[in-house]
């Protein structure tokens, strides 16, 4: 097991390097003088020249990449000019808020999606199955940002149950109940599409597994039907459900960009959008590299979880 994790960790290194190369190449597409683009059009010529020197932008492209990479490895992602603070500090602080939101969402969609899929499969063609299938169809078709806005209208404006925005708890301004009240709507809105996708997949994975011989064995042993479904079948189905959760994590993280904007959640997604609109290129660059690298590590964790579940993977 240890050697398997090590192997996967080593395999993640070239992927993360590849990510930095891709981000670097995309950023080199910036038209005109990058320093001007980074500092904005009101920058003084001296500042532009200084930045060009600092970033090594007067050097050849390959050399520029390695300077950038070297700086990042030392924890130097540059300074955000619009916020006037180190990119790394800003990104890490914002990423915490995003992790709370996306993590909650991922937990919600995994649990609800799997339950819905299992119930649907166990009662195939029954009323519950049809109802779930219909709800799932609507769920995967509704854009999360639109859903979020409609939730605000209903729960915050009309019913006045939940606050629209203003989550500060993560930064020490409130307690856990306050955080939960702020989290409820955005996390749910973000989870809906992924819940639908996971439910659909869990249903078909369960149907596939329930036809297997070992399910008949469990029934022949006299195992209760509840255990047949929730222990025997679900455990085997998890082998194909877990990778889907891994993929959905990417979609939840992506959807967080919209949801953070709708609910003014102080996360990394909204930070990136603002940074793009203010042309704060270094902040975008740093944010994208850090979040993407974390996503690679998350997928690695999914693979490890998979191998823990299925002993056939590592042997």
């Amino acid at each position: 097991m240890g050697s398997y994790i090590l192997k996967r960790l080593l395999a993640a290194i070239p992927v993360i390097l590849g990510i930095t190369v891709i981000v670097f190449l995309i950023m080199s597409l910036i038209p005109g003088d990058p320093a001007t683009a980074i500092l904005g059009s009101y920058a003084t010529p001296e500042n532009v020249e200084k930045l060009n020197r600092d970033l090594g932008l007067d050097k050849p492209l390959v050399q520029q990449y390695f300077i950038w990479l070297g700086n990042m490895l030392q924890g130097d992602f540059g300074r955000s000019f619009s916020l006037n603070r180190p990119v790394l500090d800003e990104v890490l602080e914002r990423f915490g808020a995003t992790l709370v939101l996306a993590g909650t969402s991922l937990v919600i969609c995994s649990i609800l999606g799997i339950i819905a899929g299992v119930v649907s499969a166990a009662r195939q063609y029954g009323v519950a199955d049809k109802a779930i299938t219909f709800i799932v169809l609507i769920g995967i078709s509704i854009p999360s940002f639109f859903l979020g806005m409609m939730m605000i209208l209903l729960f915050a404006v009309n019913l006045r149950w939940l606050p629209v925005s203003g989550m500060y708890a993560i930064y020490g301004g409130g307690d856990l109940p306050d955080l939960i009240r702020h989290l409820l709507m955005p996390a749910t809105a973000l989870a809906v599409v992924a819940t639908g996708v996971i439910a659909r997949l869990s249903r078909s994975a369960m149907l596939e597994v329930l036809r297997q011989d070992f399910i008949r064995t469990a029934r022949a042993k006299g195992v209760t039907e509840r255990n047949v479904i929730w222990r025997h079948a679900l455990k085997a189905a998890m082998v194909s459900i877990i990778p889907v959760i891994g993929v959905q994590a990417g979609f939840v993280l992506s959807g967080a960009v919209y949801i953070e904007t709708v609910f003014q959640w102080p996360g990394v997604g909204r930070m990136l959008v603002t940074a793009i609109l203010t042309r704060d290129i270094l902040l975008v660059q740093g944010g994208v590299v850090i979040v993407a690298a974390c996503y690679v590590l998350f997928n690695l964790a999914v693979d490890v979880a998979q191998s823990l579940l299925d002993p056939r993977v590592t042997t």
Binding site: I19, A218, G250, Y258
Partner: protein
């Protein structure tokens, strides 16, 4: 599930009508999607011809008019512009952008995929590595990075969305190309001196085109949504031009005071994505033949019982009485009669061998006893199964479950497929105990270990923590036997337990079963196609043909002097070692299809002694001597003692 329900619902009774209805419903949904989508596309295509107001004409005095205001059917936005007009023009823009992005992604994805798949080797390796890198990003980060570099704007958002979707196309198309690259027609083109480029364009491309089209149809809705999303964030279309996303984004600023400016474009996006999804699902279902045959249904906890009458209890109550059992498979409009009236008894401590060719119904008989025939499509259409005098087919599910694995247990054929791959074998045995007895985990584990030793698994104390895939086939079958024995059942139903094993292991397993039977006095219903196995283990034999018992009696008597022509032929098929010169007699013809049984004796078409009388009417299973019975009008016998 169906705990305790004996009477099947009408829907299950007529799966043919049900399947048709389901398909119809599904098609109806798909058709609804198609109609919706066509309407949306028509509206946006005809936008220039429709009597719409100027979508850019501002009139701040008229801002935020509610829907159904005079002159503005859907109201006006924050600048007093007509929302209906903006909606239709915005939809047009969103559809165009989504389509162009889709074509762009398809084009570049196909170029990469075909190149990688066609050249293979290093080219393939490098291209696919690069694609993997792109896929390592959460998609929106990549799109945001591209928009950040190129600057906000609809064209740039379009480029970003297209680039993000390239990997999907590249991977799919590479996969198809790889299989094509070594086909004869490509080799032929190469030999004819065509350039690589020409081969890719004129030979490969036409063959991967369907894949490209399917991939496009599944992603176009997604791309419309993604570009709308970027516009919503203010990174796509810039004012005053608006696609659906930026309309929604602008409306959001007045969400609380004037929600209609958000709801209208939001609903439109929802309608488009939903109709694309409906259409896609419908197409996928129609293309997937597994759904049509109903093969993707899951078996329920017990076989559906749908019988008119329960036979009277027999005069001679054995341990297990199977009476006139009729099990069918109802697939669509066809009914396959797997069993047409099987009757057999197993007495305490006795071993009955149930023998027949594949398809004769012996496994179905075994599974029907405890309601384990996969259902749907299996249905028990008649007869009764009595264990110790109690009828079990009609019993509530909780009663049936208590018998399963406790009083009557099973050993199945292929121990790799029949053990759960993700649980340790010890835990699987423990579970069999705890399903019926409230004992502690440690006690159950000690019992499991005891059983593993009893079935002679070497090193049982460490093997108990192995997963099934870590054991050999013979070991796995020993685990299966231990699991069947663990609750000291009265009857074990062994369904070809040695068929998947090699000969030496087979002999070990058989002698193990024989020892266990003698030591523990457990009765065995042994299903096999092998007379050699039967001779070694069984007290009595029942021979099955086409879903019926055709002969039954003590093993020695039948082997020495088979009465039914079929039994005789079957025994003649068994090669015997050391009798090298003996001629093997294959039975001519094939067993009949069980949905089309001939009247009279099912074996008559293959029987060289068949008379006209054999082909009419029901032929009963008549007593033949004191302990035997045979279903034949003209039983063959060397001894004249036949009572027929």
């Amino acid at each position: 599930m169906t705990a305790g329900d004996v009477a099947p619902t009408p829907q299950r009774r007529r799966p043919a009508a049900g399947a048709f209805l389901k398909l119809f419903l599904r098609n109806r949904l798909a058709a609804a999607g198609a109609i919706l989508l066509t309407a949306v596309v028509l509206l946006s295509v005809l936008a220039p011809l429709l009597p719409l107001q100027d979508p850019y004409a501002q009139d701040t005095a008229q801002k935020f008019l509610r829907p159904f205001s005079p002159g503005h059917l859907l109201g006006t936005d924050h600048l007093g512009r007509d929302i209906l007009s903006r909606l239709i023009w915005g939809t047009r823009l969103s559809l165009v952008v989504g389509l162009v992005a889709s074509f762009g992604a398809a084009f570049f994805g196909s170029v990469i995929g075909i190149t990688a798949g066609y050249f293979g080797g290093r080219t393939d390796n490098w291209l696919m590595r690069a694609i993997d890198m792109l896929m390592a990003f959460p998609y929106i980060l990549l799109a945001l990075a591209i928009v950040a570099a190129l600057g906000p704007g609809l064209v740039n958002a379009l480029i970003a969305v297209a680039v993000v979707n390239i990997p999907f196309f590249a991977r799919n198309i590479r996969g198809v190309t790889v299989t094509l690259a070594h086909k004869e027609f490509v080799d032929a083109a190469r030999l004819a001196g065509m350039t690589d480029l020409r081969i890719m364009v004129s030979e490969i491309l036409p063959n991967v085109l369907p894949v490209i089209v399917i991939a496009m149809s599944t992603t176009v809705g997604w791309m419309i949504l993604e570009t709308a999303g970027l516009s919503f964030l203010g990174l796509g279309s810039q004012p005053p031009v608006a696609d659906l996303g930026s309309m929604l984004g602008e409306g959001r600023n007045a969400l609380i005071t004037d929600p209609h400016a958000s709801i209208v474009p939001g609903l439109m996006i929802f309608v488009i994505v939903m109709s694309v999804n409906l259409l896609g699902d419908g197409i996928r279902d129609a293309l997937d033949p597994r759904l049509r045959s109903g093969a993707l249904t899951r078996p329920m906890a017990r076989t559906i019982v749908d019988r008119n009458a329960v036979p009277q209890p027999p005069a001679d109550p054995a341990l297990l009485n199977v009476q006139e059992l009729r099990t069918e498979f109802r697939v669509g409009s066809r009914t396959l009669k797997a069993l047409s009236g099987v009757t057999l008894q197993v007495r305490p401590g006795e071993c009955l061998g149930l023998i027949g060719e594949s398809g004769s119904g012996k496994s179905v008989t075994a599974l029907s006893v405890m309601g384990l025939v996969a259902s749907p499509p299996g249905v028990i259409a008649g007869g009764a199964v009595r264990y110790a005098g109690t009828e079990v087919l009609g019993a509530p599910f909780s009663e049936l479950r208590k018998l399963r694995g406790d009083r009557i247990s099973y050993i199945f054929q292929d121990p790799l497929a029949t053990l759960h791959p993700l649980y340790r074998v010890g835990d699987q045995i423990v579970e069999a105990i705890q399903a019926h007895h409230a004992v502690s985990k440690s006690k159950a584990r000690a019992r499991a270990l005891e059983l593993l030793e009893a079935v002679r698994i070497p090193n049982a104390s460490s093997r108990i923590d192995n997963f099934p895939h870590e054991l050999s086939g013979g070991m796995r079958q020993r685990v299966g036997i231990a699991m069947a024995l663990v609750n000291e059942p009265d009857l074990i139903i062994a369904d070809e337990p040695t068929t998947a094993l090699d000969v030496t292991v087979q002999a070990q397993i058989l002698s193990l079963l024989d020892d266990l039977r003698r030591e523990r006095g457990v009765a065995i219903l042994f299903i096999t196609h092998d007379f050699g196995v039967v001779a070694q283990l069984c007290d009595r034999i029942a021979v099955m043909y086409a879903g019926r018992i055709v002969e039954t009696g003590p093993t020695a008597a039948i082997l020495a002097d088979p009465a039914h022509p079929y039994t005789r032929r079957l025994i003649a098929c068994v090669p015997e070692l050391g009798e090298g010169q003996r001629e093997l007699h294959a039975i001519p013809g094939l067993p009949p299809a069980v949905d089309d049984l001939p009247p009279g004796c099912a074996f008559a078409p293959r029987c060289d002694k068949a008379q006209p009388a054999c082909r009419t009417g029901e032929i009963p299973l008549d007593a033949f001597g004191s302990e035997r019975a045979v279903r034949c009008l003209f039983p063959e016998s060397d001894q004249a003692g036949g009572a027929a």
